[in-house]
């Protein structure tokens, strides 16, 4: 299962390099992980939907997409209508179709599970509908409301900020969308495994979202450096913060500066922003952590040509925050998942990483304790994926926090007047893309209401019915 410390092959250590595979391997490994449905497949799958009353799948969707309706429209070959049903509830419905853990959301709730253990492939159908529409959009789905003259600053162009910007622009407000990065999308652009978002889809969907108009972009503009919350409040009628989690948890042990020791989020971002051929990977890789980020990093290490990849998690399998589906995905790609171990020490030799020493753990009276055993895993690359944190400095200390993240009410209103927040920086969520979209969507409705213009219009209904 793992390599014990051995002196037999020191020459192989710190074997960190790019270009381990041939061009065809990269194309295959980083292409679409789950190919989209073609029209025949979509029509047949759509026919499986029972069009349930008060559908459990819709209840399970954080954005409340009317799933039976969109699937019925797919079945009736009305891709535009299907996309309208989806995007009305979730303006990033295409990305969510690709990255949602549907097996614990809509598809888990599907009544088809009862007898067949095979839910309707809601995620794939949603992808079919949104991508089908975006490929041939025709007349715009959403018509921007009459200009209100109100100006709203949206800070952070991840899923929450994009959804808020769309909802606000739709309602006629002028939105200025700030992001510290050079590209829009936040985690959609920087934080997801490449094979989940093949084909440049993240930017395609954002282009569509922005096409509603009324959204001005300020990229490379960082809160706390280039702009301040006070400054924004002076200039704008309201502010939405979709800041994400900018801090990375440390391992809690000495972490020397070594080329082979890095954050999984940076590794994933590098893979999204470069050709995989040029991203270095170790021959042996250790990923520390048990979430989606750890899985994305571990699987991609394997796909880059690493021989042995081990995910190490301090508790048991049932504690992994990666879904069962993600765990299987990792395992079928040859990733070893090793539980009940915590990092003890990074071992290096002459500036080159050699591996990592771990302490075996167990639960004792509800507390995690060391068993006293230790082991060593050889590694040329160690990726930290033990969670990210909300950094308080950029937004300042005037916002109340809860469990280290921004405290809000159900609509996203923070403790500060005229300031809303959503996405991972907001306390109380599950760190899901689809949840961030819902935060942004609901905050836009709340901001619109707070600006005193919300009552007369019905933007949360489909245009064709409104």
């Amino acid at each position: 299962m793992f390599a014990r410390f051995s002196r037999e092959a020191p020459v192989d250590l710190a074997d960190l390099k790019s270009g381990r595979l041939g061009p065809d391997d990269y194309a295959r490994n980083f292409g679409d992980a789950h190919p989209p449905l073609n029209r025949s497949q979509a029509l047949i799958e759509a026919e499986r939907c029972y069009y349930c009353f008060d559908a459990p799948c819709q209840t399970a969707c954080p954005t409340g997409i009317d799933i039976p309706s969109f699937i019925q429209r797919v079945a009736q070959d009305n891709v535009r209508g299907a996309a309208e049903a989806i995007l009305t509830a979730n303006p990033l419905g295409g990305m969510c179709a690709r990255v949602c853990p549907t097996e614990v959301l809509c598809e888990q709730a599907c009544v088809r599970n009862s007898h067949e253990s095979k839910p309707v492939e809601i995620g794939l159908l949603q992808r079919y509908a949104v991508e089908g529409h975006l490929a041939n959009p025709g007349k715009p789905l959403f018509q921007r409301g009459m200009p209100t003259g109100k100006r709203v600053a949206v800070v952070g162009a991840g899923p929450a900020g994009l959804a808020a910007a769309h909802g606000l622009a739709w309602r006629g407000h002028d939105v200025v969308l700030f992001d510290a990065a050079a590209k829009l999308g936040g985690l959609n652009e920087y934080g997801l495994a490449t094979y989940k978002v093949a084909g440049g889809f993240a930017q395609k969907e954002i282009d569509w979202l922005l096409s509603i108009g009324g959204i001005t972009l300020r990229l490379n503009c960082r809160l706390g450096r280039d702009i301040t919350l006070d400054g924004l409040l002076a200039e704008y009628d309201a502010v939405f913060l979709g800041l994400g989690l900018q801090g990375v948890n440390a391992l809690g042990i000495a972490e020397p500066q070594l080329p082979g020791l890095r954050d999984a989020v940076d590794f994933i971002a590098e893979l999204r922003q470069s050709a995989p051929e040029i991203v270095p990977v170790g021959r042996r890789v250790v990923v520390i952590g048990g979430g989606m980020t750890a899985v994305d990093a571990a699987v991609q290490s394997k796909l880059l040509g690493a021989e042995a990849v081990t995910m190490v998690y301090r508790r048991g399998m049932d504690g992994l925050s990666a879904s069962t589906h993600e765990q299987h995905w990792a395992q079928t790609h040859g990733v070893t998942i090793r539980c009940w171990a915590r990092p003890l020490a990074v071992e290096a030799d002459g500036g080159a990483l050699r591996g990592m020493r771990f302490a075996a753990t167990r639960l004792e009276g509800g507390r995690l304790v060391d068993t006293g055993e230790q082991f060593f895993l050889e590694a040329d690359l160690v990726l930290r994926a033990i969670g990210q944190t909300y950094e308080t400095e950029p937004a300042g200390s005037a916002l109340d926090l809860q469990s280290g993240r921004i405290k809000t009410d159900a609509d996203g209103q923070t403790s500060r007047a005229r300031v809303w927040a959503g996405g991972d920086c907001r306390a109380g969520g599950r760190d899901l893309t689809v949840e961030a979209v819902e935060h942004g969507k609901r905050a836009a409705i709340a901001i619109d209401r707070a600006l005193g213009l919300g009552s007369a219009r019905h933007f949360d209904q489909e245009a064709t019915h409104g």
Binding site: L43, I44, A46, E47, Y50, Y51, C52, F53, D54, A55, P56, A75, V111, R112, S114, H115
Partner: protein, 435 residues
């Protein structure tokens, strides 16, 4: 294994499955393949007078599909055989000689004059065929020329032509009826009055399959123009079964042998037609969808069913369901059914609730103790069977008959087990006095 053989008007066949008069029986090569595959008989595609008719060189068939492209309904605008009469007759003779144990029926359609019928009947008898079927049903093309359903829609014509045929041939005469009429009993009675040995039904139903919304034409078209076709396949089975039942239970035609036709796709469909009074069944669409081999599956299924039920031969259940078909006014209005939902197999889709709530009697609750749970409110349930019909899980919703002594919560009436129908009901202004 159950005995599937039939003796219909003295015509024997090893099983009740005959290929209906249609494209699959148009030529020797097709019919030989059919007999080799195991079909019990064929009704050779309709012969007419020379010169032969001409078919369009565009689409002859169109289809109603389910979403996963199973054929639900089928229509066609093909005419009767477009080959010279003597070619067909020679082929019929050869095939019958090589397959003497199979039923060989020849379908005929000539103008409504005695000499035309007399002449063709003599030539058919000469082939060694076992019987003739008079095509009074074809609803397209031929009907414009005063034949096919144009005859079948006028009982007097049916009787007249049948009489001529009985006069001019010793072969059994089967009259094939069109469903494109208002009451099938009248043409059936006319056939019987004319001396028909049997009726076969149904022929196809007038139909337009669809509209091409891009070109704004009916569909399909030949060079931009289309014409109605004859509809068949699984979708027409209920219509056919009703017409068969009407003839089987009509006092004037009861006992007249029937060869059942209309959407027979499975052994179960065939068994239903036989239970409704048919001595043989005719199949076309299923063969055109699956090929001739399907007959083996039909025979296998029918045989298994009969073995399971203990029916030694087809006669053992032929017509068995006919006495249960009545006029509505004979139904027992004292009987009360209520829907029952099996909570063990219910998948909680809620379709029963929403359709009952929206379109029927508000008799299925959606929650229990604040949780999603679908159960019947017997105080509102009228036993309509809608929930059974739309439930996606077979057997999950069933109808339970209230037993004597139970109270119908909807009406407050205690069930007493008595029978009373509309004819004596107090709300019926025309009611008969009760004894």
């Amino acid at each position: 294994m159950a005995d599937l053989s039939t003796d219909f008007l003295g015509i024997k066949s090893p099983n009740p499955f005959w290929l209906a008069s249609a494209p699959p029986t148009d030529k020797e090569v097709n019919v030989r393949r059919a007999f080799e595959a195991g079909w019990g008989g064929v009704v050779w595609k309709t012969l007419g007078e020379d010169p032969p008719v001409v078919n369009v060189n565009g689409p002859r068939y169109a289809t109603l599909w389910s979403q996963d492209r199973r054929v639900i309904g089928f229509n066609n605008i093909e005419l009767i055989s477009d080959r010279p009469l003597q070619v067909n007759l020679d082929e019929i003779r050869r095939v019958k000689r090589d397959f003497p144990d199979r039923a060989m029926i020849v379908s005929l359609m000539v103008p409504v004059n005695e000499q035309s019928w007399k002449s063709i009947l003599a030539r058919v008898a000469d082939t060694g065929a076992d019987g003739v079927e008079l095509n009074f049903g074809c609803p397209h093309g031929m009907s414009e020329r005063g034949m096919g359903s144009a005859v079948g829609q006028v009982p007097e014509y049916i009787q007249q032509v049948t009489e001529w045929c009985k006069l001019h041939t010793r072969l059994p005469v089967i009259v094939k009826l069109t469903p494109n009429i208002t009451d099938v009993r009248f043409p059936a009675r006319a056939a019987k009055a004319g001396g028909a040995d049997a009726v076969s039904l149904i022929n196809t139903i007038n139909s337009v399959m669809g509209v091409d919304l891009d070109r704004m034409t009916m569909s399909p078209v030949t060079d931009g123009l289309g014409s109605h076709g004859g509809y068949c396949g699984p979708a027409v089975k209920p219509i056919a079964l009703n017409m068969v039942a009407e003839i089987a239970r009509d006092a004037a035609t009861a006992g007249l042998p029937i060869s059942g036709i209309g959407g027979i796709t499975t052994w179960r469909d065939a068994a239903e037609f036989i239970a409704m009074g048919c001595g043989t069944v005719q199949v076309c669409t299923a063969a055109m969808v699956y090929g001739f081999k399907i007959v083996q599956d039909l025979c296998s299924g029918l045989s298994s069913f009969m073995d399971e039920k203990g029916y030694a031969n087809l006669k053992a259940f032929e017509g068995k369901a006919v006495p249960t078909v009545r006029n509505w006014n004979q139904l027992n209005l004292n009987h009360v059914d209520k829907a029952v939902i099996d909570q063990g197999t219910c998948i909680q889709c809620g379709r029963c609730h929403v359709v009952c709530e929206d379109t029927s009697h508000q008799a299925i609750w959606a929650t229990k103790d604040g949780k999603r749970h679908f159960h019947v409110n017997e105080a509102e349930c009228v036993g309509c069977n809608l929930c059974v019909s739309i439930c996606p899980v077979p057997g999950t919703i069933t109808m339970r008959a209230l037993q004597p002594g139970e109270t119908d919560l909807r009406t407050g009436r205690v069930i007493d087990g008595s029978y009373a129908n509309w004819t004596t009901h107090p709300n019926n202004p025309m009611r008969q006095s009760c004894a």
